[in-house]
C-alpha cells in the first residue's frame, strides 16, 4: 500500500506555508493541525523545522493550547501526545546526538538534508546506531532552466554541484532507509510534481522514495505514485488550505486506482473535539482570579527583554493577535498579500469570477427544492455586499443565517432586520438564551480575556450547522480575516473554511465542550456552538468559500454600495476606538470592550487594523495612521459600563482580570502600565 503524507513546516514554533523556499506565511499552532491529522488517520507525518530563531512563540496567555518549551525539542513531546501515526522530524540535524534527542522526544524517524551533503559519514553512523528505517534523507533538487538537475542545500539556497541520482544512490549505500525528494522550483507552485525527476530517482535506488513539492490539486498525487514509482506522496500547503483536504486527497488517489488504506474520518481513541480535564481547567481559572485579586500580573513581575518590531509600511506589530511574518525589507505578509491583490488586473478578476461561478453551479440545487447556498450574515456592510453579490449579481438563492449575540447597536439591529425584505430572501436569526449569553460573556472574559468568545464561535458554527442540516453544500463567507489582515495565505491558495481555523483562531482552542460544567452550563445549552461532524461535512462535500478570493473586496466600497443600493445605515455616533463608522455595528463590544482587551493584551487595537488596511489601499498615509492609532488604541470605551451591568461585575474586578492578560513582551509596570509603542 502506498502512503499519502502531510508535511508540516515549522518556523519558530508555528506552521508556515512556504513558497519557493523563501516566502513563509504563518498558518498557526501545530497542535491544532496535528490533532486534525490524527483524526483523519493520516498515513504518516513529516515535520520539518525551518526556524530562524531558537525561540518559539506560542506563549500567548489567552490560548487554550500552549506548551512550555522554547525550542523544537520542547514542542515535540507535546506533538507526540497527539500523534499516533509515524512521525518523521527534520531540520537542523547535524549529529547523532541531535537524532537521539529527537527520538527520545517522540520522533520515529529523522530527516537529514544539508548535513548529509556536508558530512555523508553521518548517514553511515546514523544507520548503524538507529537502523536504516530511522534515517531519512531529504534531497532538494533544483531543475535549472536548461533542464539540468542539481542538489541544493540550506533550504534551497546553496548549490552543491551534486547530481540527484548519484547522490540518491550514495545515500542508499550509506544506509539511508528512505528518500524524501523535493523540488525547489515547484515549491508552492501548485503545478504538480516534477514527474521525470521522481521517475529518475525511483528507478535509481531500491529504497522507498517519498515525492514532495508542487501539489496544487488532489489529482496531482496520483501520477507520482503510479507512473512515478514513488512509495509515498507528500505535500505541505494543500493540506492547510481546504477542509478535510487529507480525506478528499486520499479518496482521489483510491478512486484513481492507487492501493491505499481507506479513508477513515474518525478514530474512537481520539476525538475531534479536544477533551478537557474539568478539574484542571477549573483550577486554572481559579488561579487567574486569585492572581487578579492579589494583583499578581505576569507583565509586572516578569519584564522580558524583547524587541518589538513593526511593519515598515503598515502599523502591524510583530507581537500581534494574528500570526504574521516579515520579508527582508520588513514588509509584513499582510502588506505583501495586499500588494498582490492590488496588482491583479481585470483579467485576473475575471478568471476568478469564472472559478466562482463554477463553484456555484456545482453546489446549486439541481431540482430547485432547496437554497443554493448559505450566507452567514451579521447584518453589517459586508453581509449586504455578500448577499447583493450572490443574489443580485450571480443570481442564486441564498439562505441567510445570523448568530444573534444580543449586543447589537440600534443601527446594526435595523440593518439586520431589513435584509430579508430588501434582498427578498429567507433569513434565520438564531438567538441563544440570554442567561447563557451572560454566562459565556463572563466566562470568556475570565478564561481568555475575551467576552466575545461566544460570538466568534457562534458566527463560525451556525452557518455550517444550518447548511449541514438542510443539506446545502456551500457556505459563502466574506473575507478571510487573517489572510486579509496579516497575509496568512496567498491569494492563489483559494483557502477555504475549516474546522481547524474555527477552533484555533475563532475559539483560541476553546471548543464548545470546554464551557460545560462552568456556571452549571450543560452540553444541551451549547447546541448553537456544536459543529457538524467530519462525516457530515465529507458526505455533503460541504465547502465554505471566501468571496474575497474571487471578487475585489474593500470594506469602504462595500459600505458605500450597501447604503446606496439598499439603504444600509452607518453608525450615528462615532466609535471611540476607531475612526471607521460602518464596521462592527452588529456588536457594540466588538469595537468596544472586546477590542479594548486586544489592546490590553497586545498593545494595539482595531484602529491599528483599520488604519493598516487603509494605508495599504492608499486611503491613509502611514503618519496619519500612526496618529489615529495613537489616539484611538488606548481608549477605554463607555460600553465597558454596559457590559459590566449586563454580566454583573464591578470595574475594579474587570481591570484586575484584564491586567492578568497583559503580555510581558509588550507591557511593563512603572508607576503605571507602559508599552512598546510605534513611533514615526
Amino acid at each position: 500500500m502506498k502512503r499519502l503524507i502531510p508535511v508540516l513546516l515549522l518556523k519558530n514554533g508555528l506552521i508556515v506555508r512556504s513558497q519557493l523556499f523563501s516566502i513563509h506565511q504563518s498558518i498557526g499552532n501545530p497542535m491544532h493541525t496535528v490533532r486534525r491529522l490524527s483524526n483523519w488517520n493520516v498515513d504518516e507525518l513529516i515535520l520539518l523545522d525551518i526556524s530562524t530563531e531558537d525561540r518559539h512563540d506560542l506563549r500567548r496567555d489567552d490560548l487554550q493550547v500552549q506548551y512550555q518549551g522554547t525550542t523544537l525539542l520542547g514542542l515535540l513531546p507535546e506533538i507526540a501526545k497527539l500523534c499516533f501515526m509515524p512521525l518523521a522530524v527534520g531540520g537542523g540535524i547535524r549529529d547523532i546526538e541531535a537524532m537521539r534527542e529527537r527520538f527520545a522526544a517522540g520522533a520515529d524517524k529523522c530527516v537529514i538534508n544539508s548535513e548529509a551533503v556536508r558530512n555523508p559519514a553521518l548517514l553511515t553512523e546514523a544507520s548503524r546506531a538507529f537502523g536504516a528505517q530511522a534515517v531519512v534523507v531529504s534531497i532538494d533538487v533544483l531543475r535549472h532552466r536548461d533542464g539540468r538537475l542539481e542538489v541544493m542545500i540550506d533550504g534551497g539556497r546553496t548549490p552543491t554541484g551534486l547530481d540527484p541520482l548519484a547522490w540518491a544512490r550514495e545515500c542508499e549505500q550509506r544506509g539511508a532507509g528512505e528518500i524524501v525528494l523535493n523540488s525547489v522550483d515547484r515549491d508552492g507552485a501548485g503545478t504538480g510534481y516534477d514527474l521525470a525527476l521522481v521517475q529518475a530517482v525511483t528507478t535509481s535506488v531500491s529504497i522507498p522514495v517519498i515525492a514532495c513539492g508542487g501539489v496544487g490539486a488532489y489529482a496531482d498525487f496520483v501520477p507520482a505514485l503510479n507512473e512515478g514509482g514513488a512509495s509515498a506522496a507528500a505535500a505541505a500547503n494543500i493540506f492547510n488550505f481546504y477542509e478535510l483536504a487529507y480525506p478528499h486527497a486520499k479518496k482521489t488517489c483510491i478512486d484513481a486506482g492507487v492501493a491505499m488504506r481507506p479513508v477513515q474520518l474518525a478514530n474512537k481513541w481520539f476525538t475531534r473535539e479536544p477533551q478537557y480535564d474539568f478539574q484542571i481547567e477549573k483550577a486554572k481559572l481559579e488561579m487567574r482570579m486569585s492572581h487578579a485579586r492579589q494583583g499578581l500580573f505576569a507583565a509586572a513581575q516578569d519584564p522580558r527583554e524583547r524587541k518589538m518590531r513593526w511593519c515598515t509600511q503598515c502599523l502591524y506589530p510583530s507581537l500581534s493577535a494574528t500570526p504574521m511574518e516579515y520579508d527582508a525589507k520588513g514588509l509584513c505578509t499582510g502588506c505583501q498579500m495586499a500588494q498582490m491583490k492590488t496588482d491583479f488586473g481585470a483579467s485576473e478578476w475575471q478568471r476568478r469570477g469564472t472559478i466562482l461561478r463554477g463553484i456555484f453551479e456545482q453546489a446549486r440545487s439541481s431540482d430547485g427544492t432547496r437554497h443554493d447556498c448559505v450566507i452567514g450574515v451579521s447584518g453589517g456592510k459586508d453581509s449586504y455586499f455578500q448577499t447583493h453579490y450572490v443574489k443580485n449579481v450571480l443570481g442564486y438563492k441564498p439562505l441567510l443565517v445570523t448568530y444573534y449575540g444580543n449586543n447589537y447597536t440600534p443601527e446594526g439591529e435595523y440593518n439586520l432586520r431589513r435584509m430579508a425584505e430588501v434582498f427578498d430572501v429567507d433569513h434565520i436569526i438564531y438567538k441563544p438564551s440570554v442567561t447563557l449569553l451572560k454566562k459565556l460573556n463572563r466566562l470568556g472574559f475570565q478564561i481568555m480575556g475575551d467576552m466575545n468568545w461566544h460570538g466568534h464561535m457562534g458566527i463560525a458554527t451556525l452557518p455550517m450547522k444550518i447548511a449541514a442540516l438542510h443539506k446545502i453544500p456551500l457556505v459563502v463567507w466574506g473575507e478571510h480575516g487573517y489572510a486579509d489582515l496579516c497575509g496568512q495565505f496567498s491569494m492563489n491558495d483559494f483557502v477555504e473554511w475549516s474546522y481547524r481555523n474555527r477552533l484555533e483562531h475563532f475559539g483560541r482552542g476553546y471548543e464548545w465542550n470546554y464551557m460545560v460544567g462552568f456556571e452549571d452550563i450543560t452540553a444541551a445549552d451549547m447546541v448553537p456552538y456544536q459543529y457538524p461532524s467530519d462525516q457530515e461535512l465529507f458526505d455533503l462535500n460541504l465547502k465554505g468559500i471566501y468571496l474575497s478570493n474571487y471578487v475585489p473586496w474593500d470594506g469602504n466600497a462595500n459600505s458605500k454600495l450597501a447604503s446606496e443600493l439598499y439603504g444600509f445605515e452607518a453608525g450615528n455616533t462615532p466609535f471611540e476606538r476607531t475612526y471607521r463608522r460602518a464596521s462592527n455595528l452588529d456588536d457594540m463590544h466588538e469595537n468596544g470592550a472586546h477590542d479594548y482587551m486586544k489592546y490590553v493584551k497586545f498593545g494595539y487595537g482595531r484602529c491599528t487594523d483599520h488604519a493598516s488596511k487603509d494605508i495599504r489601499s492608499g486611503a491613509l498615509s502611514r503618519a496619519e495612521g500612526i496618529a489615529l492609532a495613537r489616539h484611538h488604541d488606548p481608549v477605554k470605551p463607555f460600553d465597558v459600563q454596559r457590559w459590566l451591568n449586563y454580566v454583573g461585575m464591578d470595574e475594579t474586578t474587570f481591570d484586575a482580570i484584564a491586567d492578568t492578560f497583559r503580555d510581558p513582551r509588550v507591557w511593563w509596570f512603572d508607576g503605571g502600565w507602559r508599552r512598546h509603542e510605534l513611533s514615526d
Binding site: 500500500m1 502506498k2 502512503r3 490524527s38 488517520n41 498515513d43 504518516e44 513531546p77 507526540a80 501526545k81 500523534c83 499516533f84 501515526m85 509515524p86 512521525l87 537521539r100 527520538f103 527520545a104 522526544a105 517522540g106 520522533a107 520515529d108 524517524k109 544507520s127 548503524r128 546506531a129 538507529f130 537502523g131 536504516a132 528505517q133 530511522a134 532507509g177 528512505e178 525511483t202 528507478t203 531500491s206 529504497i207 522507498p208 514509482g229 512509495s231 509515498a232 488504506r261 477513515q264 478514530n267 474512537k268 481513541w269 481520539f270
Partner: protein, 211 residues
C-alpha cells in the same frame, strides 16, 4: 477494573515516549525500567523498539537485563511483549550487521527481507494488512484480522515452528511474520503505538487481557 501497570524496558535507544503515550491513552499506567530491580517487580513487560539489533542486543546482555527478562518470562511465567525491534529481540539471533544473540524466547532467526522491485523495497515501510491465522490467541480480538498496521523494517522474524507465527502480512510473494507468540510471549513486527485505531485496539487488548 484497576489500572494495569505496564513496565517498559528502556535501553535508551528506543521510542519510549511514543509507546508510553499510546499505553496511557488505552488506560495503562507506565513504568519505565532501566535496571534489573525495576524489571524484577514487573507484571506486563514491554520491549519497545527502534534501532539496530546489534546495539540493542549488546545493551541487553551487557547490562544483565537479558537474564532478568528471560527469568520474567520463563520462571515467573509473566507476559512479555515486543514491538518491532523488540519483537525481533524475542528470537534466537539476528543477522543484522553480523550475527547477534536475541533473548531466545521464541525460536527463530531474524533475517533480511528480500526486495522485489519496483514495488517491494527494503526497508519495508508503510501500512500492511495483517491476517490472524488459526494459531492466533484469544487475547487478540477478531476485529484485528484484516486490519492495517504500520510496518517499518529491513529484517524479519523467521520462526522455527509455524505455530509461533499467529499473524502474517504479505511482502513480495511471501507471507512474513507480523505477529509472533508463544505462551505469554508476544511480538509484533509493526508499531502498534503508531498504528492509530487498530494499533490502540491491540494495545488495549494486551493491557486488559494478556496475563
Amino acid at each position: 477494573m484497576p489500572q494495569r501497570i505496564v513496565t517498559l524496558v528502556d535501553l535508551q535507544i528506543q521510542n519510549i515516549l511514543s509507546v508510553t503515550q499510546a499505553l496511557n491513552l488505552v488506560g495503562a499506567r507506565v513504568i519505565v525500567a532501566r535496571d534489573a530491580a525495576a524489571i524484577a517487580q514487573a507484571d506486563l513487560l514491554v520491549l519497545p523498539g527502534v534501532g539496530s539489533f546489534a546495539e540493542a542486543s549488546r545493551r541487553l546482555f551487557q547490562s544483565g537485563l537479558a537474564e532478568v527478562i528471560q527469568h520474567h518470562a520463563l520462571e515467573r511465567q509473566r507476559p512479555v511483549v515486543g514491538f518491532c525491534l523488540g519483537m525481533q529481540l524475542l528470537g534466537d539471533s539476528s543477522q543484522e550487521h553480523g550475527e547477534h544473540p536475541g533473548l531466545g524466547l521464541i525460536p527463530g532467526q531474524v533475517v533480511r527481507l528480500r526486495e522485489k522491485l519496483p514495488d517491494h523495497r527494503v526497508p519495508n515501510v508503510g501500512w500492511r494488512t495483517v491476517h490472524l491465522n488459526e494459531y492466533s490467541t484469544a487475547v487478540l480480538p477478531a476485529v484485528l484480522d484484516g486490519a492495517n498496521f504500520y510496518h517499518v523494517h529491513s529484517y524479519h522474524f523467521e520462526v522455527k515452528s509455524p505455530s509461533h507465527c499467529i499473524g502474517t502480512s504479505r511482502f513480495a510473494d511471501e507471507n512474513i511474520a507480523s505477529i509472533v507468540a508463544r505462551g505469554r510471549v508476544l511480538g509484533t513486527q509493526f508499531h502498534p503505538e503508531k498504528s492509530q485505531e487498530p494499533g490502540l485496539d491491540l494495545l488495549h487488548a494486551l493491557v486488559c487481557h494478556f496475563r
